[in-house]
Every structure is written in structure tokens, then in C-alpha cells.
Amino acid sequence: MMKKLKRRLSLTLNKRGRALDESLSELAEQMTIDDVAALNQQQQVTLQQQSFQFHRSQPHLDQTRVPSEPSLHHQYHLSTNQEEPEEFPAPIGATQVNGVVHENPRVVSYSAENEDVRRAADERYDVVSPVTVRLRNKQRRLSEEVTKRLSLPADIRLPENFLARQSLSLSPDGQLTRRSRRKSLSEIGFGKIESYTKLDKLGEGTYATVFKGKSRLTDNLVALKEIRLEHEEGAPCTAIREVSLLRDLKHANIVTLHDIIHTDKSLTLVFEYLEKDLKQYMDDCGNIMSMTNVKLFLFQLLRGLAYCHKRRVLHRDLKPQNLLINERGELKLADFGLARAKSIPTKTYSNEVVTLWYRPPDVLLGSTEYSTPIDMWGVGCIFYEMACGRPLFPGSTVDDELHLIFKTLGVPTEDTMPGISKNAEFLTYDFPKYLADSLITIAPRLDSDGLELLAKYLKYNPAIRVSASDAMKHSFFDSLGPNVHKLPDTVSIFTLPGITLHRDPGMRSSALANTGKLRRQSMLF
């Protein structure tokens, strides 16, 4: 059969004078011509049959068919029939460690049963699957099953009177039972704009306005990212990318998306609220940060980034403004509007992809072949900025930016940046023969480990620029102890003993103590 196929393939394709490996269009074209013809006949026949039988066949169908239900409910019904434990396994038993959802994977029997039910269902309906490997690894599936069901943030605190009103039952340990939880999802007010009070405006971007807000359900502060839909054809791609990527990113160093409110006129994404971004933080401490804090922030940035890269997500817009920081010192990556799954080709990505200051020279010189190293250059620039109190390469144009980079790091050569001698863009600039400064002269606050690490980010050749997970293992971070590498994804490094934010030398008012902050504010008079 294969020989026949091969002959056919080559025959048909050669006849048309094309290479064998022409893609989808080719085959799609080939298949459709004939299939449509074949289908047309079939379709006419079936159409007649169906319109003829339609009324009669209906009751018969109803008897045999399981009532159609939205999938989640469907699963839910199936699984409750199996008398599984009532408590919602993970999220409700979740322990909350300072804003970090720590999922408790106590669901083995539950999911296994669910699998059986599904399998039974599949068998019943005679699935013509050539392979049934979906059941390959039950264990693996558990966490996903749970995540799929998780539509409420696990740290939700519901008012007592609300529970009474909804006559919701609490399980013995004082938590909502799973059934009540599910029933109450929409009643509680998720997905509704009325559930949030809008407070101050935090900022305005190109496609969204961000407000500080408060959840009426939990009294927690939230950030409301309001996206106008007027000029868009449906949902904006930035929102689609941001939401579909963030849904899958559950990490202590990535901002949590709580809720999505989608109406005709606008789309509001509800995020956890963090007090400030790294830019504000650096401003507030007069640009003199404690080196311990630099280390803590840098490590968290790498941790979040390594997690993203592991999931084939590039951030592509790293800058201090997109790194959010709370009072405890937890740093979280935010603003994934420009991030896209790695597998995407670059075609014509637009200019504002990376703020110029944090953009690597290979991209500035027109390279479209970028990947994870695009983020790592930015990490180096941010590292320098935290340690030295000023931006490393604050260029205003591409020309300016490149000059600043080459003045400091030397003009690239074929050794440091393969292919540069043939780069037309590079040649037209005709840069003076800048020689590299030693990094210690520009970053005197860094010790030898720090300088070595900084140099690893600032490699011209993206192929040898350090990766996020390798950078985390650098000796610069040895002082944080070995346990920072053993934490589960969703656990903050501040849960480890001995890891705390230090007082920044330049900080005028300590933002570290909650009460202290307020007191000092009133003392300003």
C-alpha cells in the first residue's frame, strides 16, 4: 500500500512539476477537489434522506441519546453518580501562603474514577479511535482536571451572610462543598462587573486602561484592566493572547488572573493587585537598592521567566514597568499582551515589541530570528538598573541605542556576533571602533559573581546568551541557599526561612511595615 502511495505521491506531484514536500495547500487542494465531488453526491443523498426522516427519527434519537450538557456539567454529573467525595479536592483544601495559591493534590481516587467513567462513556458510544493513549498517564492528568474545574480563586473569602442567603452548606472544615461551590459560581458574581468597585486609575496603555479596584465579594484589592472593544473586530488579539497564555501560567512569580468580564462594549480582566511596579519601587528608594533585594528581585524574575520559557512563552516586553512588586517583596511578571507562544513565526512583528532600552542588539539590527534570548538581554539591563540605579542603555532611537550599547560593550565582531560582518544594516551605520569597557567600571557596586552574571546576559550572540534556568544556578545566588531551587512553582521564595526583603538604603519611608507607612504619611504635614 505504501509503495502505491509513494508512487502516487511522486507521480502526481512530479507531474505538476513541484517538489514532493509542498504542504497543506497542496494536499488540501487535492483532497477537496475529489472529496467535494464525492461528498456532493453523498450529500444530496443524505440530505434527502434526512429531511425525509427528520420528524420520525427525532423521538428515537431522544431515547438513545444522553442529554447534551455543557462539558463541565456533563463531567460533573457523570462523576457525582459515582459517589465520589463531595469536597472540592484541591482548591478548597488549598492553603494560602500570602497570595500564593498552593494546590493540594489530594485527588487520586477522584480523577481515576472520572477516567473510568469517561472511558465507559467512550466505549458506550463506540469511539472509533485508532489509539487510546489518552489514558496513558492518569497521575499526570490530575492537576489538569483540577485546574479545569477551578474557576474561583482558591483564596476567596465569602461573607457569612452571603452564604446564609444562598443557603450554601459548608463542609466540616468550614469550606464550601464542591457542589455548592459550583452552583454558586455565577450567583456569587464572578464574570459580572457589578462585583467590583472601581477605584483610582492606575494607568493607560495603548489598548487598555488599568484601574485599581475592590472585589465586593472578597474585599480584596484587584487591578481591573479594561479593554475597549469599539474599534476592534470582536475580541482583541492582545487580550486573547494574554488571557489564553495567563490561564496556563500558574506561578508564584507571574501575576494571577482572577476573572474575565466580557460584554459587548468592553472586556475587563481582573488581576491580583500589587502595590507597585519595579520602576516605582526604584524611584521610591532613590534608586539605591539593597544588594540583597537586587538579588531577590533578580532571582524571582528569572524564576518566573524560566517557567514561561519552559512553557514556550516569551514575554518580549520586559521592562521595570511590567514587573510588579508587593509589600512582601514578591515580584511578578505582568502584561503578557505582547507575549505569544514560542512556536509563532515572526513575520513582521511591530516596532513596539520591546521597549528600546531593553532590546537586544541582534533585534535592533533587524534580526527576526529571535526566541528566548530576547528576554534574557532585558534581564541583564534590568539587573544593571537595579544594582546601579540608572538604566544601562537609555537610547531614544535605534541608532542611539546601538551606539550606547557598542560604546560600552565594544563594536561586535565576527567572533562575538557571528554573521555581523555581512549584516547590511550594521555596515550602513559604520560605527566608530568602540572598544569594550570592563563592566566593573560601569557597575562598581557588583561583586565578581554579579559582574560575571551580568556579562552572561549581555552576550551579542543570542545563541550563547545565558538561559533563565541556567542563570538561576549561578553562584551569584548561592547566598539565597539551596532551597530556593526546590520550591514548587506556586510557592513564593519568601516562605523560606531567612529570606526577607531588606531595608533599601535610599528608601525615605519604609514601605516594609504596613502600619508604619500610614503613620509616616500623616507625619508628612
Binding site: A28, A235, I344
Partner: protein, 297 residues
């Protein structure tokens, strides 16, 4: 100046958009592949919905609509992942909600709309998609269904498709660069063909990727008898299952090729193919058709 600098080297080379490089950070890191394998099941349609959810939709309708989608994607030169992704959304939607046959093409269009927005730098316009249905749907319906899909799938759109595995698999096989790219292109085509075939609906993407790669290897006479073991080592998929799936893929291809050769004669006789597949045919069909194809069941 800035614009000039970036844009002038970013133009497509020989009409083909440049693609992101194969990133050694991603390809060499075992965890990336492990992570793909561990999440792929999450995005599989969980049931054969023809039997238990849909009251009107039949398997042949899915075939027609997916083939129409494949055509639109290729004619619009969309990214390779857009087509399999949109079929994934379609299947997952149909697992949940019962729809009428008259709405199936609308659903397919809205799924492409979303996948294109997710994956492409310059996504296809809604108007273009409306034209492709020969104005049988409106822009309003398209955006309305788009938001229905988003809500039903809970915005969970970054699904995993067979294409995601191809680089990871090929990177770990002892192949020369040119063979590798030839195999990749063929495997992509085979994987796309599988997306139009109902029998692969609940097959995990990594399995389809393995089978597509193996078919391509055999097709190009690059098989050495050890590739089954290699594929097993890379993905952890059972060897017997890979073998079975490869046979199914080959079967699908040969069905498609044989019906192609017979279909071609038919279409010559008829001289009026229902589905225009190139510009000349469209002109013959009708001038004001806007290349649109209403899929009528």
C-alpha cells in the same frame, strides 16, 4: 529611521514569511517536551460528540467544514498551526454545545478567526472570513460566535497541536538538516490531513506527530527500522500504538490520493467543481462570488 531600520530587513524572503528560529534553549530542554506531553491531553476533545452531544451534525459535515477551513487557511497563507488549532476549538465546542448544521460553517469561521488572532502577527480580517463563506454569515454573527466560543472554552485557547511536537521530535532524531526540513513539511501536511479525518479526533497530538513523522520517513525512504524505537524513546508513546496510528495515517493518505485521482476526472467531466480551489475556477464559477464558499449540507 527606527522604522526604516527594522522594517527593511523584516520583509519576507522570497514571499515566505520568516519563522522563529529553532531555539536550543527550548529544544534541548527536556522539560519543554515533557511539559507539552503532560498538557496535551487537557486539550483533547473528551468525547466523540456525534454520538452523545450533537443531534444534527454528522461526521461527513465535520469533514466538509474542516476541509473548507484547510483551504481558507492555505489560501490566506496562515501559519501552519492556525488550521489544527481552529479544528481543535471546533471539536471542543461541539463536545459541549449542540448546534444546527446551518451554524457549522459559522462556527468553523469563528474558530479560524480566534486561532488566527492568537497565532498570527497580522490576523485575518473578519470581513475576509465572511467573504469566504460567500456572505452566508455576517460580521456580527462572527464576532458573536467568537465570544460564545471564548466563554464556552473559558478562553483556554493555547491548545497543543501535533505541529508543536514536530520540531522536538525531529531535533532528537539523527537526520541531516535538509532531510529534516523535508520531513517536517511532509509531516505537517499529513498532520493537517489527519485534522480533517474524524477518526483522529481523539488521538493525542504527540501520537499524530509520531505517526506523521514516521510516514514521512518511510515516504522519503529515510526509515531504517529503528525509528519506531526512537519515536517511543522521545515521546514515551507505545510502539504498537505508533505503528497502528502510522497505518491509519497511511490509509487516510491513500484514500485521499485515490479519491483525488478519480475525483479529478470527475471534476473535469462536470467542469463545475463546487469548491473553487484556484483562481481560474472561481472566475468560471461566478464573478461576484468573492471566492466565497457556503458550505451547504
Amino acid at each position: 529611521m527606527e522604522h526604516f531600520n527594522l522594517v527593511c530587513l523584516e520583509t519576507d524572503v522570497a514571499g515566505k514569511p520568516q519563522r522563529a528560529i529553532k531555539d536550543p534553549v527550548l529544544l534541548n530542554d527536556k522539560r519543554v517536551l515533557a511539559n507539552l506531553l503532560s498538557t496535551e491531553d487537557k486539550y483533547l476533545p473528551h468525547t466523540n460528540y456525534f454520538n452523545c452531544v450533537q443531534t444534527d451534525i454528522q461526521p461527513y459535515m465535520r469533514k466538509m467544514v474542516t476541509e473548507w477551513m484547510a483551504e481558507v487557511c492555505s489560501e490566506q497563507k496562515m501559519e501552519e498551526e492556525v488550521f489544527p488549532l481552529s479544528v481543535n476549538y471546533l471539536d471542543r465546542f461541539l463536545c459541549i454545545r449542540d448546534i444546527k448544521r446551518t451554524r457549522l460553517q459559522l462556527l468553523g469561521a469563528a474558530c479560524m478567526f480566534l486561532a488566527s488572532k492568537l497565532k498570527e502577527t497580522s490576523p485575518v480580517s473578519g470581513e475576509q472570513l465572511v467573504l469566504y463563506t460567500d456572505n452566508s454569515i455576517t460580521l456580527e454573527e462572527l464576532t458573536d460566535w467568537e465570544s460564545q466560543i471564548l466563554q464556552l472554552l473559558k478562553w483556554d485557547l493555547s491548545a497543543i497541536v501535533p505541529n508543536d511536537f514536530l520540531d522536538h521530535i525531529l531535533h532528537r532524531m539523527p537526520l541531516t538538516k535538509s532531510i529534516q526540513s523535508a520531513i517536517k513539511r511532509q509531516a505537517q501536511t499529513f498532520a493537517a490531513l489527519c485534522a480533517t479525518d474524524v477518526k483522529f479526533m481523539v488521538t493525542p497530538p504527540s501520537m499524530i506527530a509520531c505517526a506523521a513523522v514516521r510516514t514521512a520517513l518511510r515516504n522519503l525512504n529515510c526509515d531504517n527500522g529503528r525509528e519506531l524505537l526512537t519515536l517511543h524513546d522521545i515521546t514515551g508513546n507505545d510502539m504498537d500504538l505508533i505503528r497502528d496510528c502510522t497505518e491509519q495515517v497511511e490509509q487516510t493518505i491513500s484514500n485521499c490520493m485515490s479519491s483525488y485521482s478519480s475525483g479529478k476526472q470527475d471534476s473535469h467531466k462536470q467542469e463545475q467543481p463546487t469548491t473553487p480551489t484556484d483562481v481560474r475556477e472561481i472566475n468560471i464559477m461566478s464573478v461576484d462570488n468573492h471566492q466565497g464558499v457556503p458550505v451547504i449540507f
